[in-house]
Symmetry: C2
Subunit: 526 residues, 2 copies
């Protein structure tokens, strides 16, 4: 039986605060540095590894973090979660996104069905549908093949699937797995839908409407936008649209769609990339086999997350180092810096995943917490970021912990050699250089050119970004964030903070406003 306690009531947390952090300029220099980089590494799934040599930890800090992991019962809590306990206490829901990619623990029955069977069935139904689209069994009314898939969704129904699509687009093209181009419409700004539609051959497009509740305002609005465009083109919208929704939603059994595929209340939007939400668009774009590999990578990483030994559990370790940085060292932000153009939108997805999950001020029992919880997350791909905001990271007044990601090989395998090195070598040389520059710094008498160092980072290293490594990478961050929520004793699976804005926006549209809200509405001509 697990017990849920605030971080500041744990004796191991008090001990942690008294342990001195590693001094990076010392421990990362010379032969010690070399040894440290070799030792402070833990294998992940799909050949990835998590290297934390350049974090401000040492054996003392790690020992204290292990105690904290034990006292906070992190492994037991994860076990309770995947075995079907109601971990989302706010909404009184199970949390089952791990089950979309494998059976990690006990069978879990809910709504009268075995949930693994339910998710697997949806995956198979999508696979069958996608195969029929690809082989021409399902076509437009003129009997022509669909060539494009357009996802209509927002937040978790957009950021994750979009980031995953961009991550695998070039890989798929190189590996003969590219079936259809995917596009995305998300914003209620009418220029978003209009611009996507203007550049899309709607007659050969299949639209995926994604809304768990079937009531998301932005998504339903954009659906109407799309239906208008289809009708104007003389097409029957119901022959061009599928729905991804919950079985109880108004979209589930509607004649407006070619078919509907299901998720449920136990899959939070931001954790839905491995469910039907990611499944439909990714299976259509790249084929069901590619989506299955992506799931395998995630499932493999989930297994590592279940290891109670923090030193062998990359997600638990990353989570605890993050808590140390946030609560003991007092750093308010974290930057995610993938050295891979394919991961250009991965930071935006992690921004939602992390900030929506752990940006909370009350614990799981609805009581205020008195310590910082989730940090601000931001990032852009390297080397682009180096020519942008790295100035502040190197020489700003605040320290920002960094999460690098790097791959030995690029996806397209096209490259040029300039000045005796390939572009890929230059890319990798830059990420290696940055880690050491941030950690060790460099003294200069001219303080304007001086680098203090002592700026912590970790790196996840892989051979190549493939469906499987992408799945592992995604699960790494999902589970890291989950563990941090456990440590902070918050509910990482609801998002009550988004409600008030929705309520007030409805009032504005109903012209039911006064005071400041009325004046702002007038200023904006509503």
């Amino acid at each position: 039986m697990v017990s849920w306690n605030n971080l500041d009531t744990l004796s191991s947390y008090k001990e942690l605060a008294d342990v001195k952090p590693a001094c990076l300029t010392e421990v990362m220099s010379g032969d010690n540095g070399a040894e440290r980089v070799k030792n402070y590494s833990v294998p992940m799934a799909a050949g990835l590894s998590y290297n934390y040599a350049s974090k401000q930890v040492n054996e003392n800090v790690l020992a204290a973090l292990e105690k904290l992991a034990d006292e906070a019962q992190l492994a037991d809590k994860f076990k309770a979660l995947y075995n079907g306990e109601v971990v989302n206490t706010g909404e009184k829901r199970l949390v089952l996104h791990h089950m979309t990619r494998g059976q990690l623990g006990d069978a879990v029955e809910a709504d009268g069905v075995d949930k693994r069977t339910f998710y697997k069935t949806q995956q198979e139904r999508i696979a069958e549908f996608a195969n029929k689209v690809h082989n021409g069994e399902i076509t437009n009314a003129a009997g022509e093949k669909f060539t494009t898939v357009v996802q209509i969704g927002i937040g978790g129904s957009d950021l994750g699937p979009r980031a995953m699509y961009i991550a695998l687009e070039n890989w798929a093209k190189k590996n003969n797995a590219f079936k259809m181009e995917a596009k995305f419409i998300s914003n209620v700004d009418p220029d978003d839908a209009a611009a996507v539609l203007a550049s899309t051959d709607v007659a050969h497009s299949i639209f995926v409407l994604v809304s768990k509740s079937g009531t998301t305002l932005e998504t339903l609005t954009n659906e109407s936008f799309v239906k208008d465009a289809l009708k104007k083109a003389g097409l029957d919208p119901s022959k061009h649209m599928i729905a991804v929704t919950s079985e109880t939603s108004p979209l589930a059994k509607s004649d407006d769609y070619l078919d509907a595929f299901f998720m449920d209340d136990y899959i939070g939007g931001r954790f839905s990339s491995t469910s039907s939400v990611g499944g439909a668009v990714l299976s259509l774009a790249f084929g069901p086999e590619v989506f299955a590999e992506f799931l395998d990578g995630a499932a493999e990483e989930d297994k590592l997350s279940a290891n109670p030994d923090m030193r062998k559990n990359p997600e638990m370790l990353d989570a605890l180092i993050g808590v140390y940085e946030r609560n003991v060292l007092g750093y308010p932000c974290t930057a995610v810096l993938p050295y891979s153009q394919a991961l250009s939108r991965f930071p935006a997805h992690l921004q939602q995943l992390d900030m929506e999950s752990n940006g909370k001020s009350v614990n799981r029992f609805g009581e205020p917490v008195t310590y910082p919880t989730g940090p601000v997350i931001f990032g852009e791909p390297g080397t682009n970021g180096q020519h942008s905001f790295y100035q502040l990271l190197h020489q700003g007044t605040d320290i920002v912990p960094l999460q690098f990601i790097g791959f030995k090989n690029n996806q397209l395998e096209t490259d040029v050699t300039i000045q005796d090195s390939t572009s890929q070598q230059k890319l990798c040389a830059n990420v290696a250089a940055q880690i050491v520059a941030f950690a060790c710094g460099k003294s200069d008498e001219n303080l304007n050119k001086n680098f203090k160092g002592g700026r912590p980072s970790s790196i996840i290293i892989g051979d190549k970004l493939t469906p499987k490594t992408l799945g592992a990478l995604l699960a790494h961050f999902e589970n890291k964030i989950m563990f941090q929520g456990f440590v902070w004793n918050i509910n990482s699976f609801d998002q009550e903070g988004v409600q008030l804005g929705k309520v007030l926006a409805k009032k504005v549209l109903a012209h039911d406003t006064d005071g400041a809200l009325k004046v702002y509405s007038d200023l904006l001509n509503i």
Copy 2:
């Protein structure tokens, strides 16, 4: 004569620290709130306005900020800058990006020429070139018109021009000003260039190589990538490329390019959108007249920035409120939230503009400062962000000041009415609702559904995003950041923090490494 002093030596700063901030839940509610929204607004150029009613300021705070503006001699320092003083003390350079869009003060001579004439001449040369491309006087070797322009650049040569292109693409299409599609190659990751080239008709493309020094490694590498692709397609690269560079760079007088257009050392990369760096690609994409309107908007805003009266100077006011939030209230981040899909990459540009300018720990004399300087900047367009990281903004443990941007009308003028409102009305209703939700909050006995409020924001409101409003918007943030640099007594115009990484990356590529750097290099297979 201006004198440069650290913020913490100013008596007005000490006074500021003693003034109590406005309590937003009080001042923004009821009729007082309505009055406040009407009063706390200052006109900007091109019909924009800066509304700061929802910032934690009141007459006392504003009076203290006015004193600070005077004591820090902000107006005089801006005057010194645009009249040609060597404000970039680190690199001993003038700072003349304002002059790319107008003559704000005295004539400035440097390098033996009048600088306004120099910038204007480049603008005119680009206009002539672009017109010839558009009317078919300049074509590819087969005599066919160019249809696409591809910018090769990184950092300031990429983020600004790219964000501006995306901002105006739909406007141009709607207003018959769309001449050529623009694409961008920036990352040294070979998959970036390869993917762009794979989707580009290179035979009808003109490439713009942008590098002030002519030595930027990423850019030269990507140039080779492009040249290879052109040669493989049987084309002569020199007939498909132009250069934007300084007159002293190796690219300036090379036969490798159709033509070369110039910038100089007095235009920092991140401030170069209004110089030839933005001028070439934007004039080719939308025509020189559109680029000229963009410059007019910026010039008009610059004039407002020169006003010594803080209450009538939107940039000075925004800057000082930001300093109050950063140094007195202690907020480490700022989010930029445009409710306009067209501004999807504007936050990424501001991230560079702000963090590279003001992420500094030493003052302009090379002495350490003991107060926080530039904050972390991040953002995504609304309403997308609402379904992502707004949870933390509403209910997280840290307060993040917000900068909203909203327009009454959309660019494409296509819209649908759903549930009695258009998409544009929904978009605007959401931004109005968010400001009030953040400021006023809403009590709930269930603390999980409780909103404390008291979270500050400002909004820039405009009629529509056009070339002129975009110019004004860009100049607003450029000048705001400049004023903040003046207040913090730092040099906002160099970027020494990016050097160490470059040096170490070169060592890695030369295999001249040991210790941690060698092991990381091995792990990454370099």
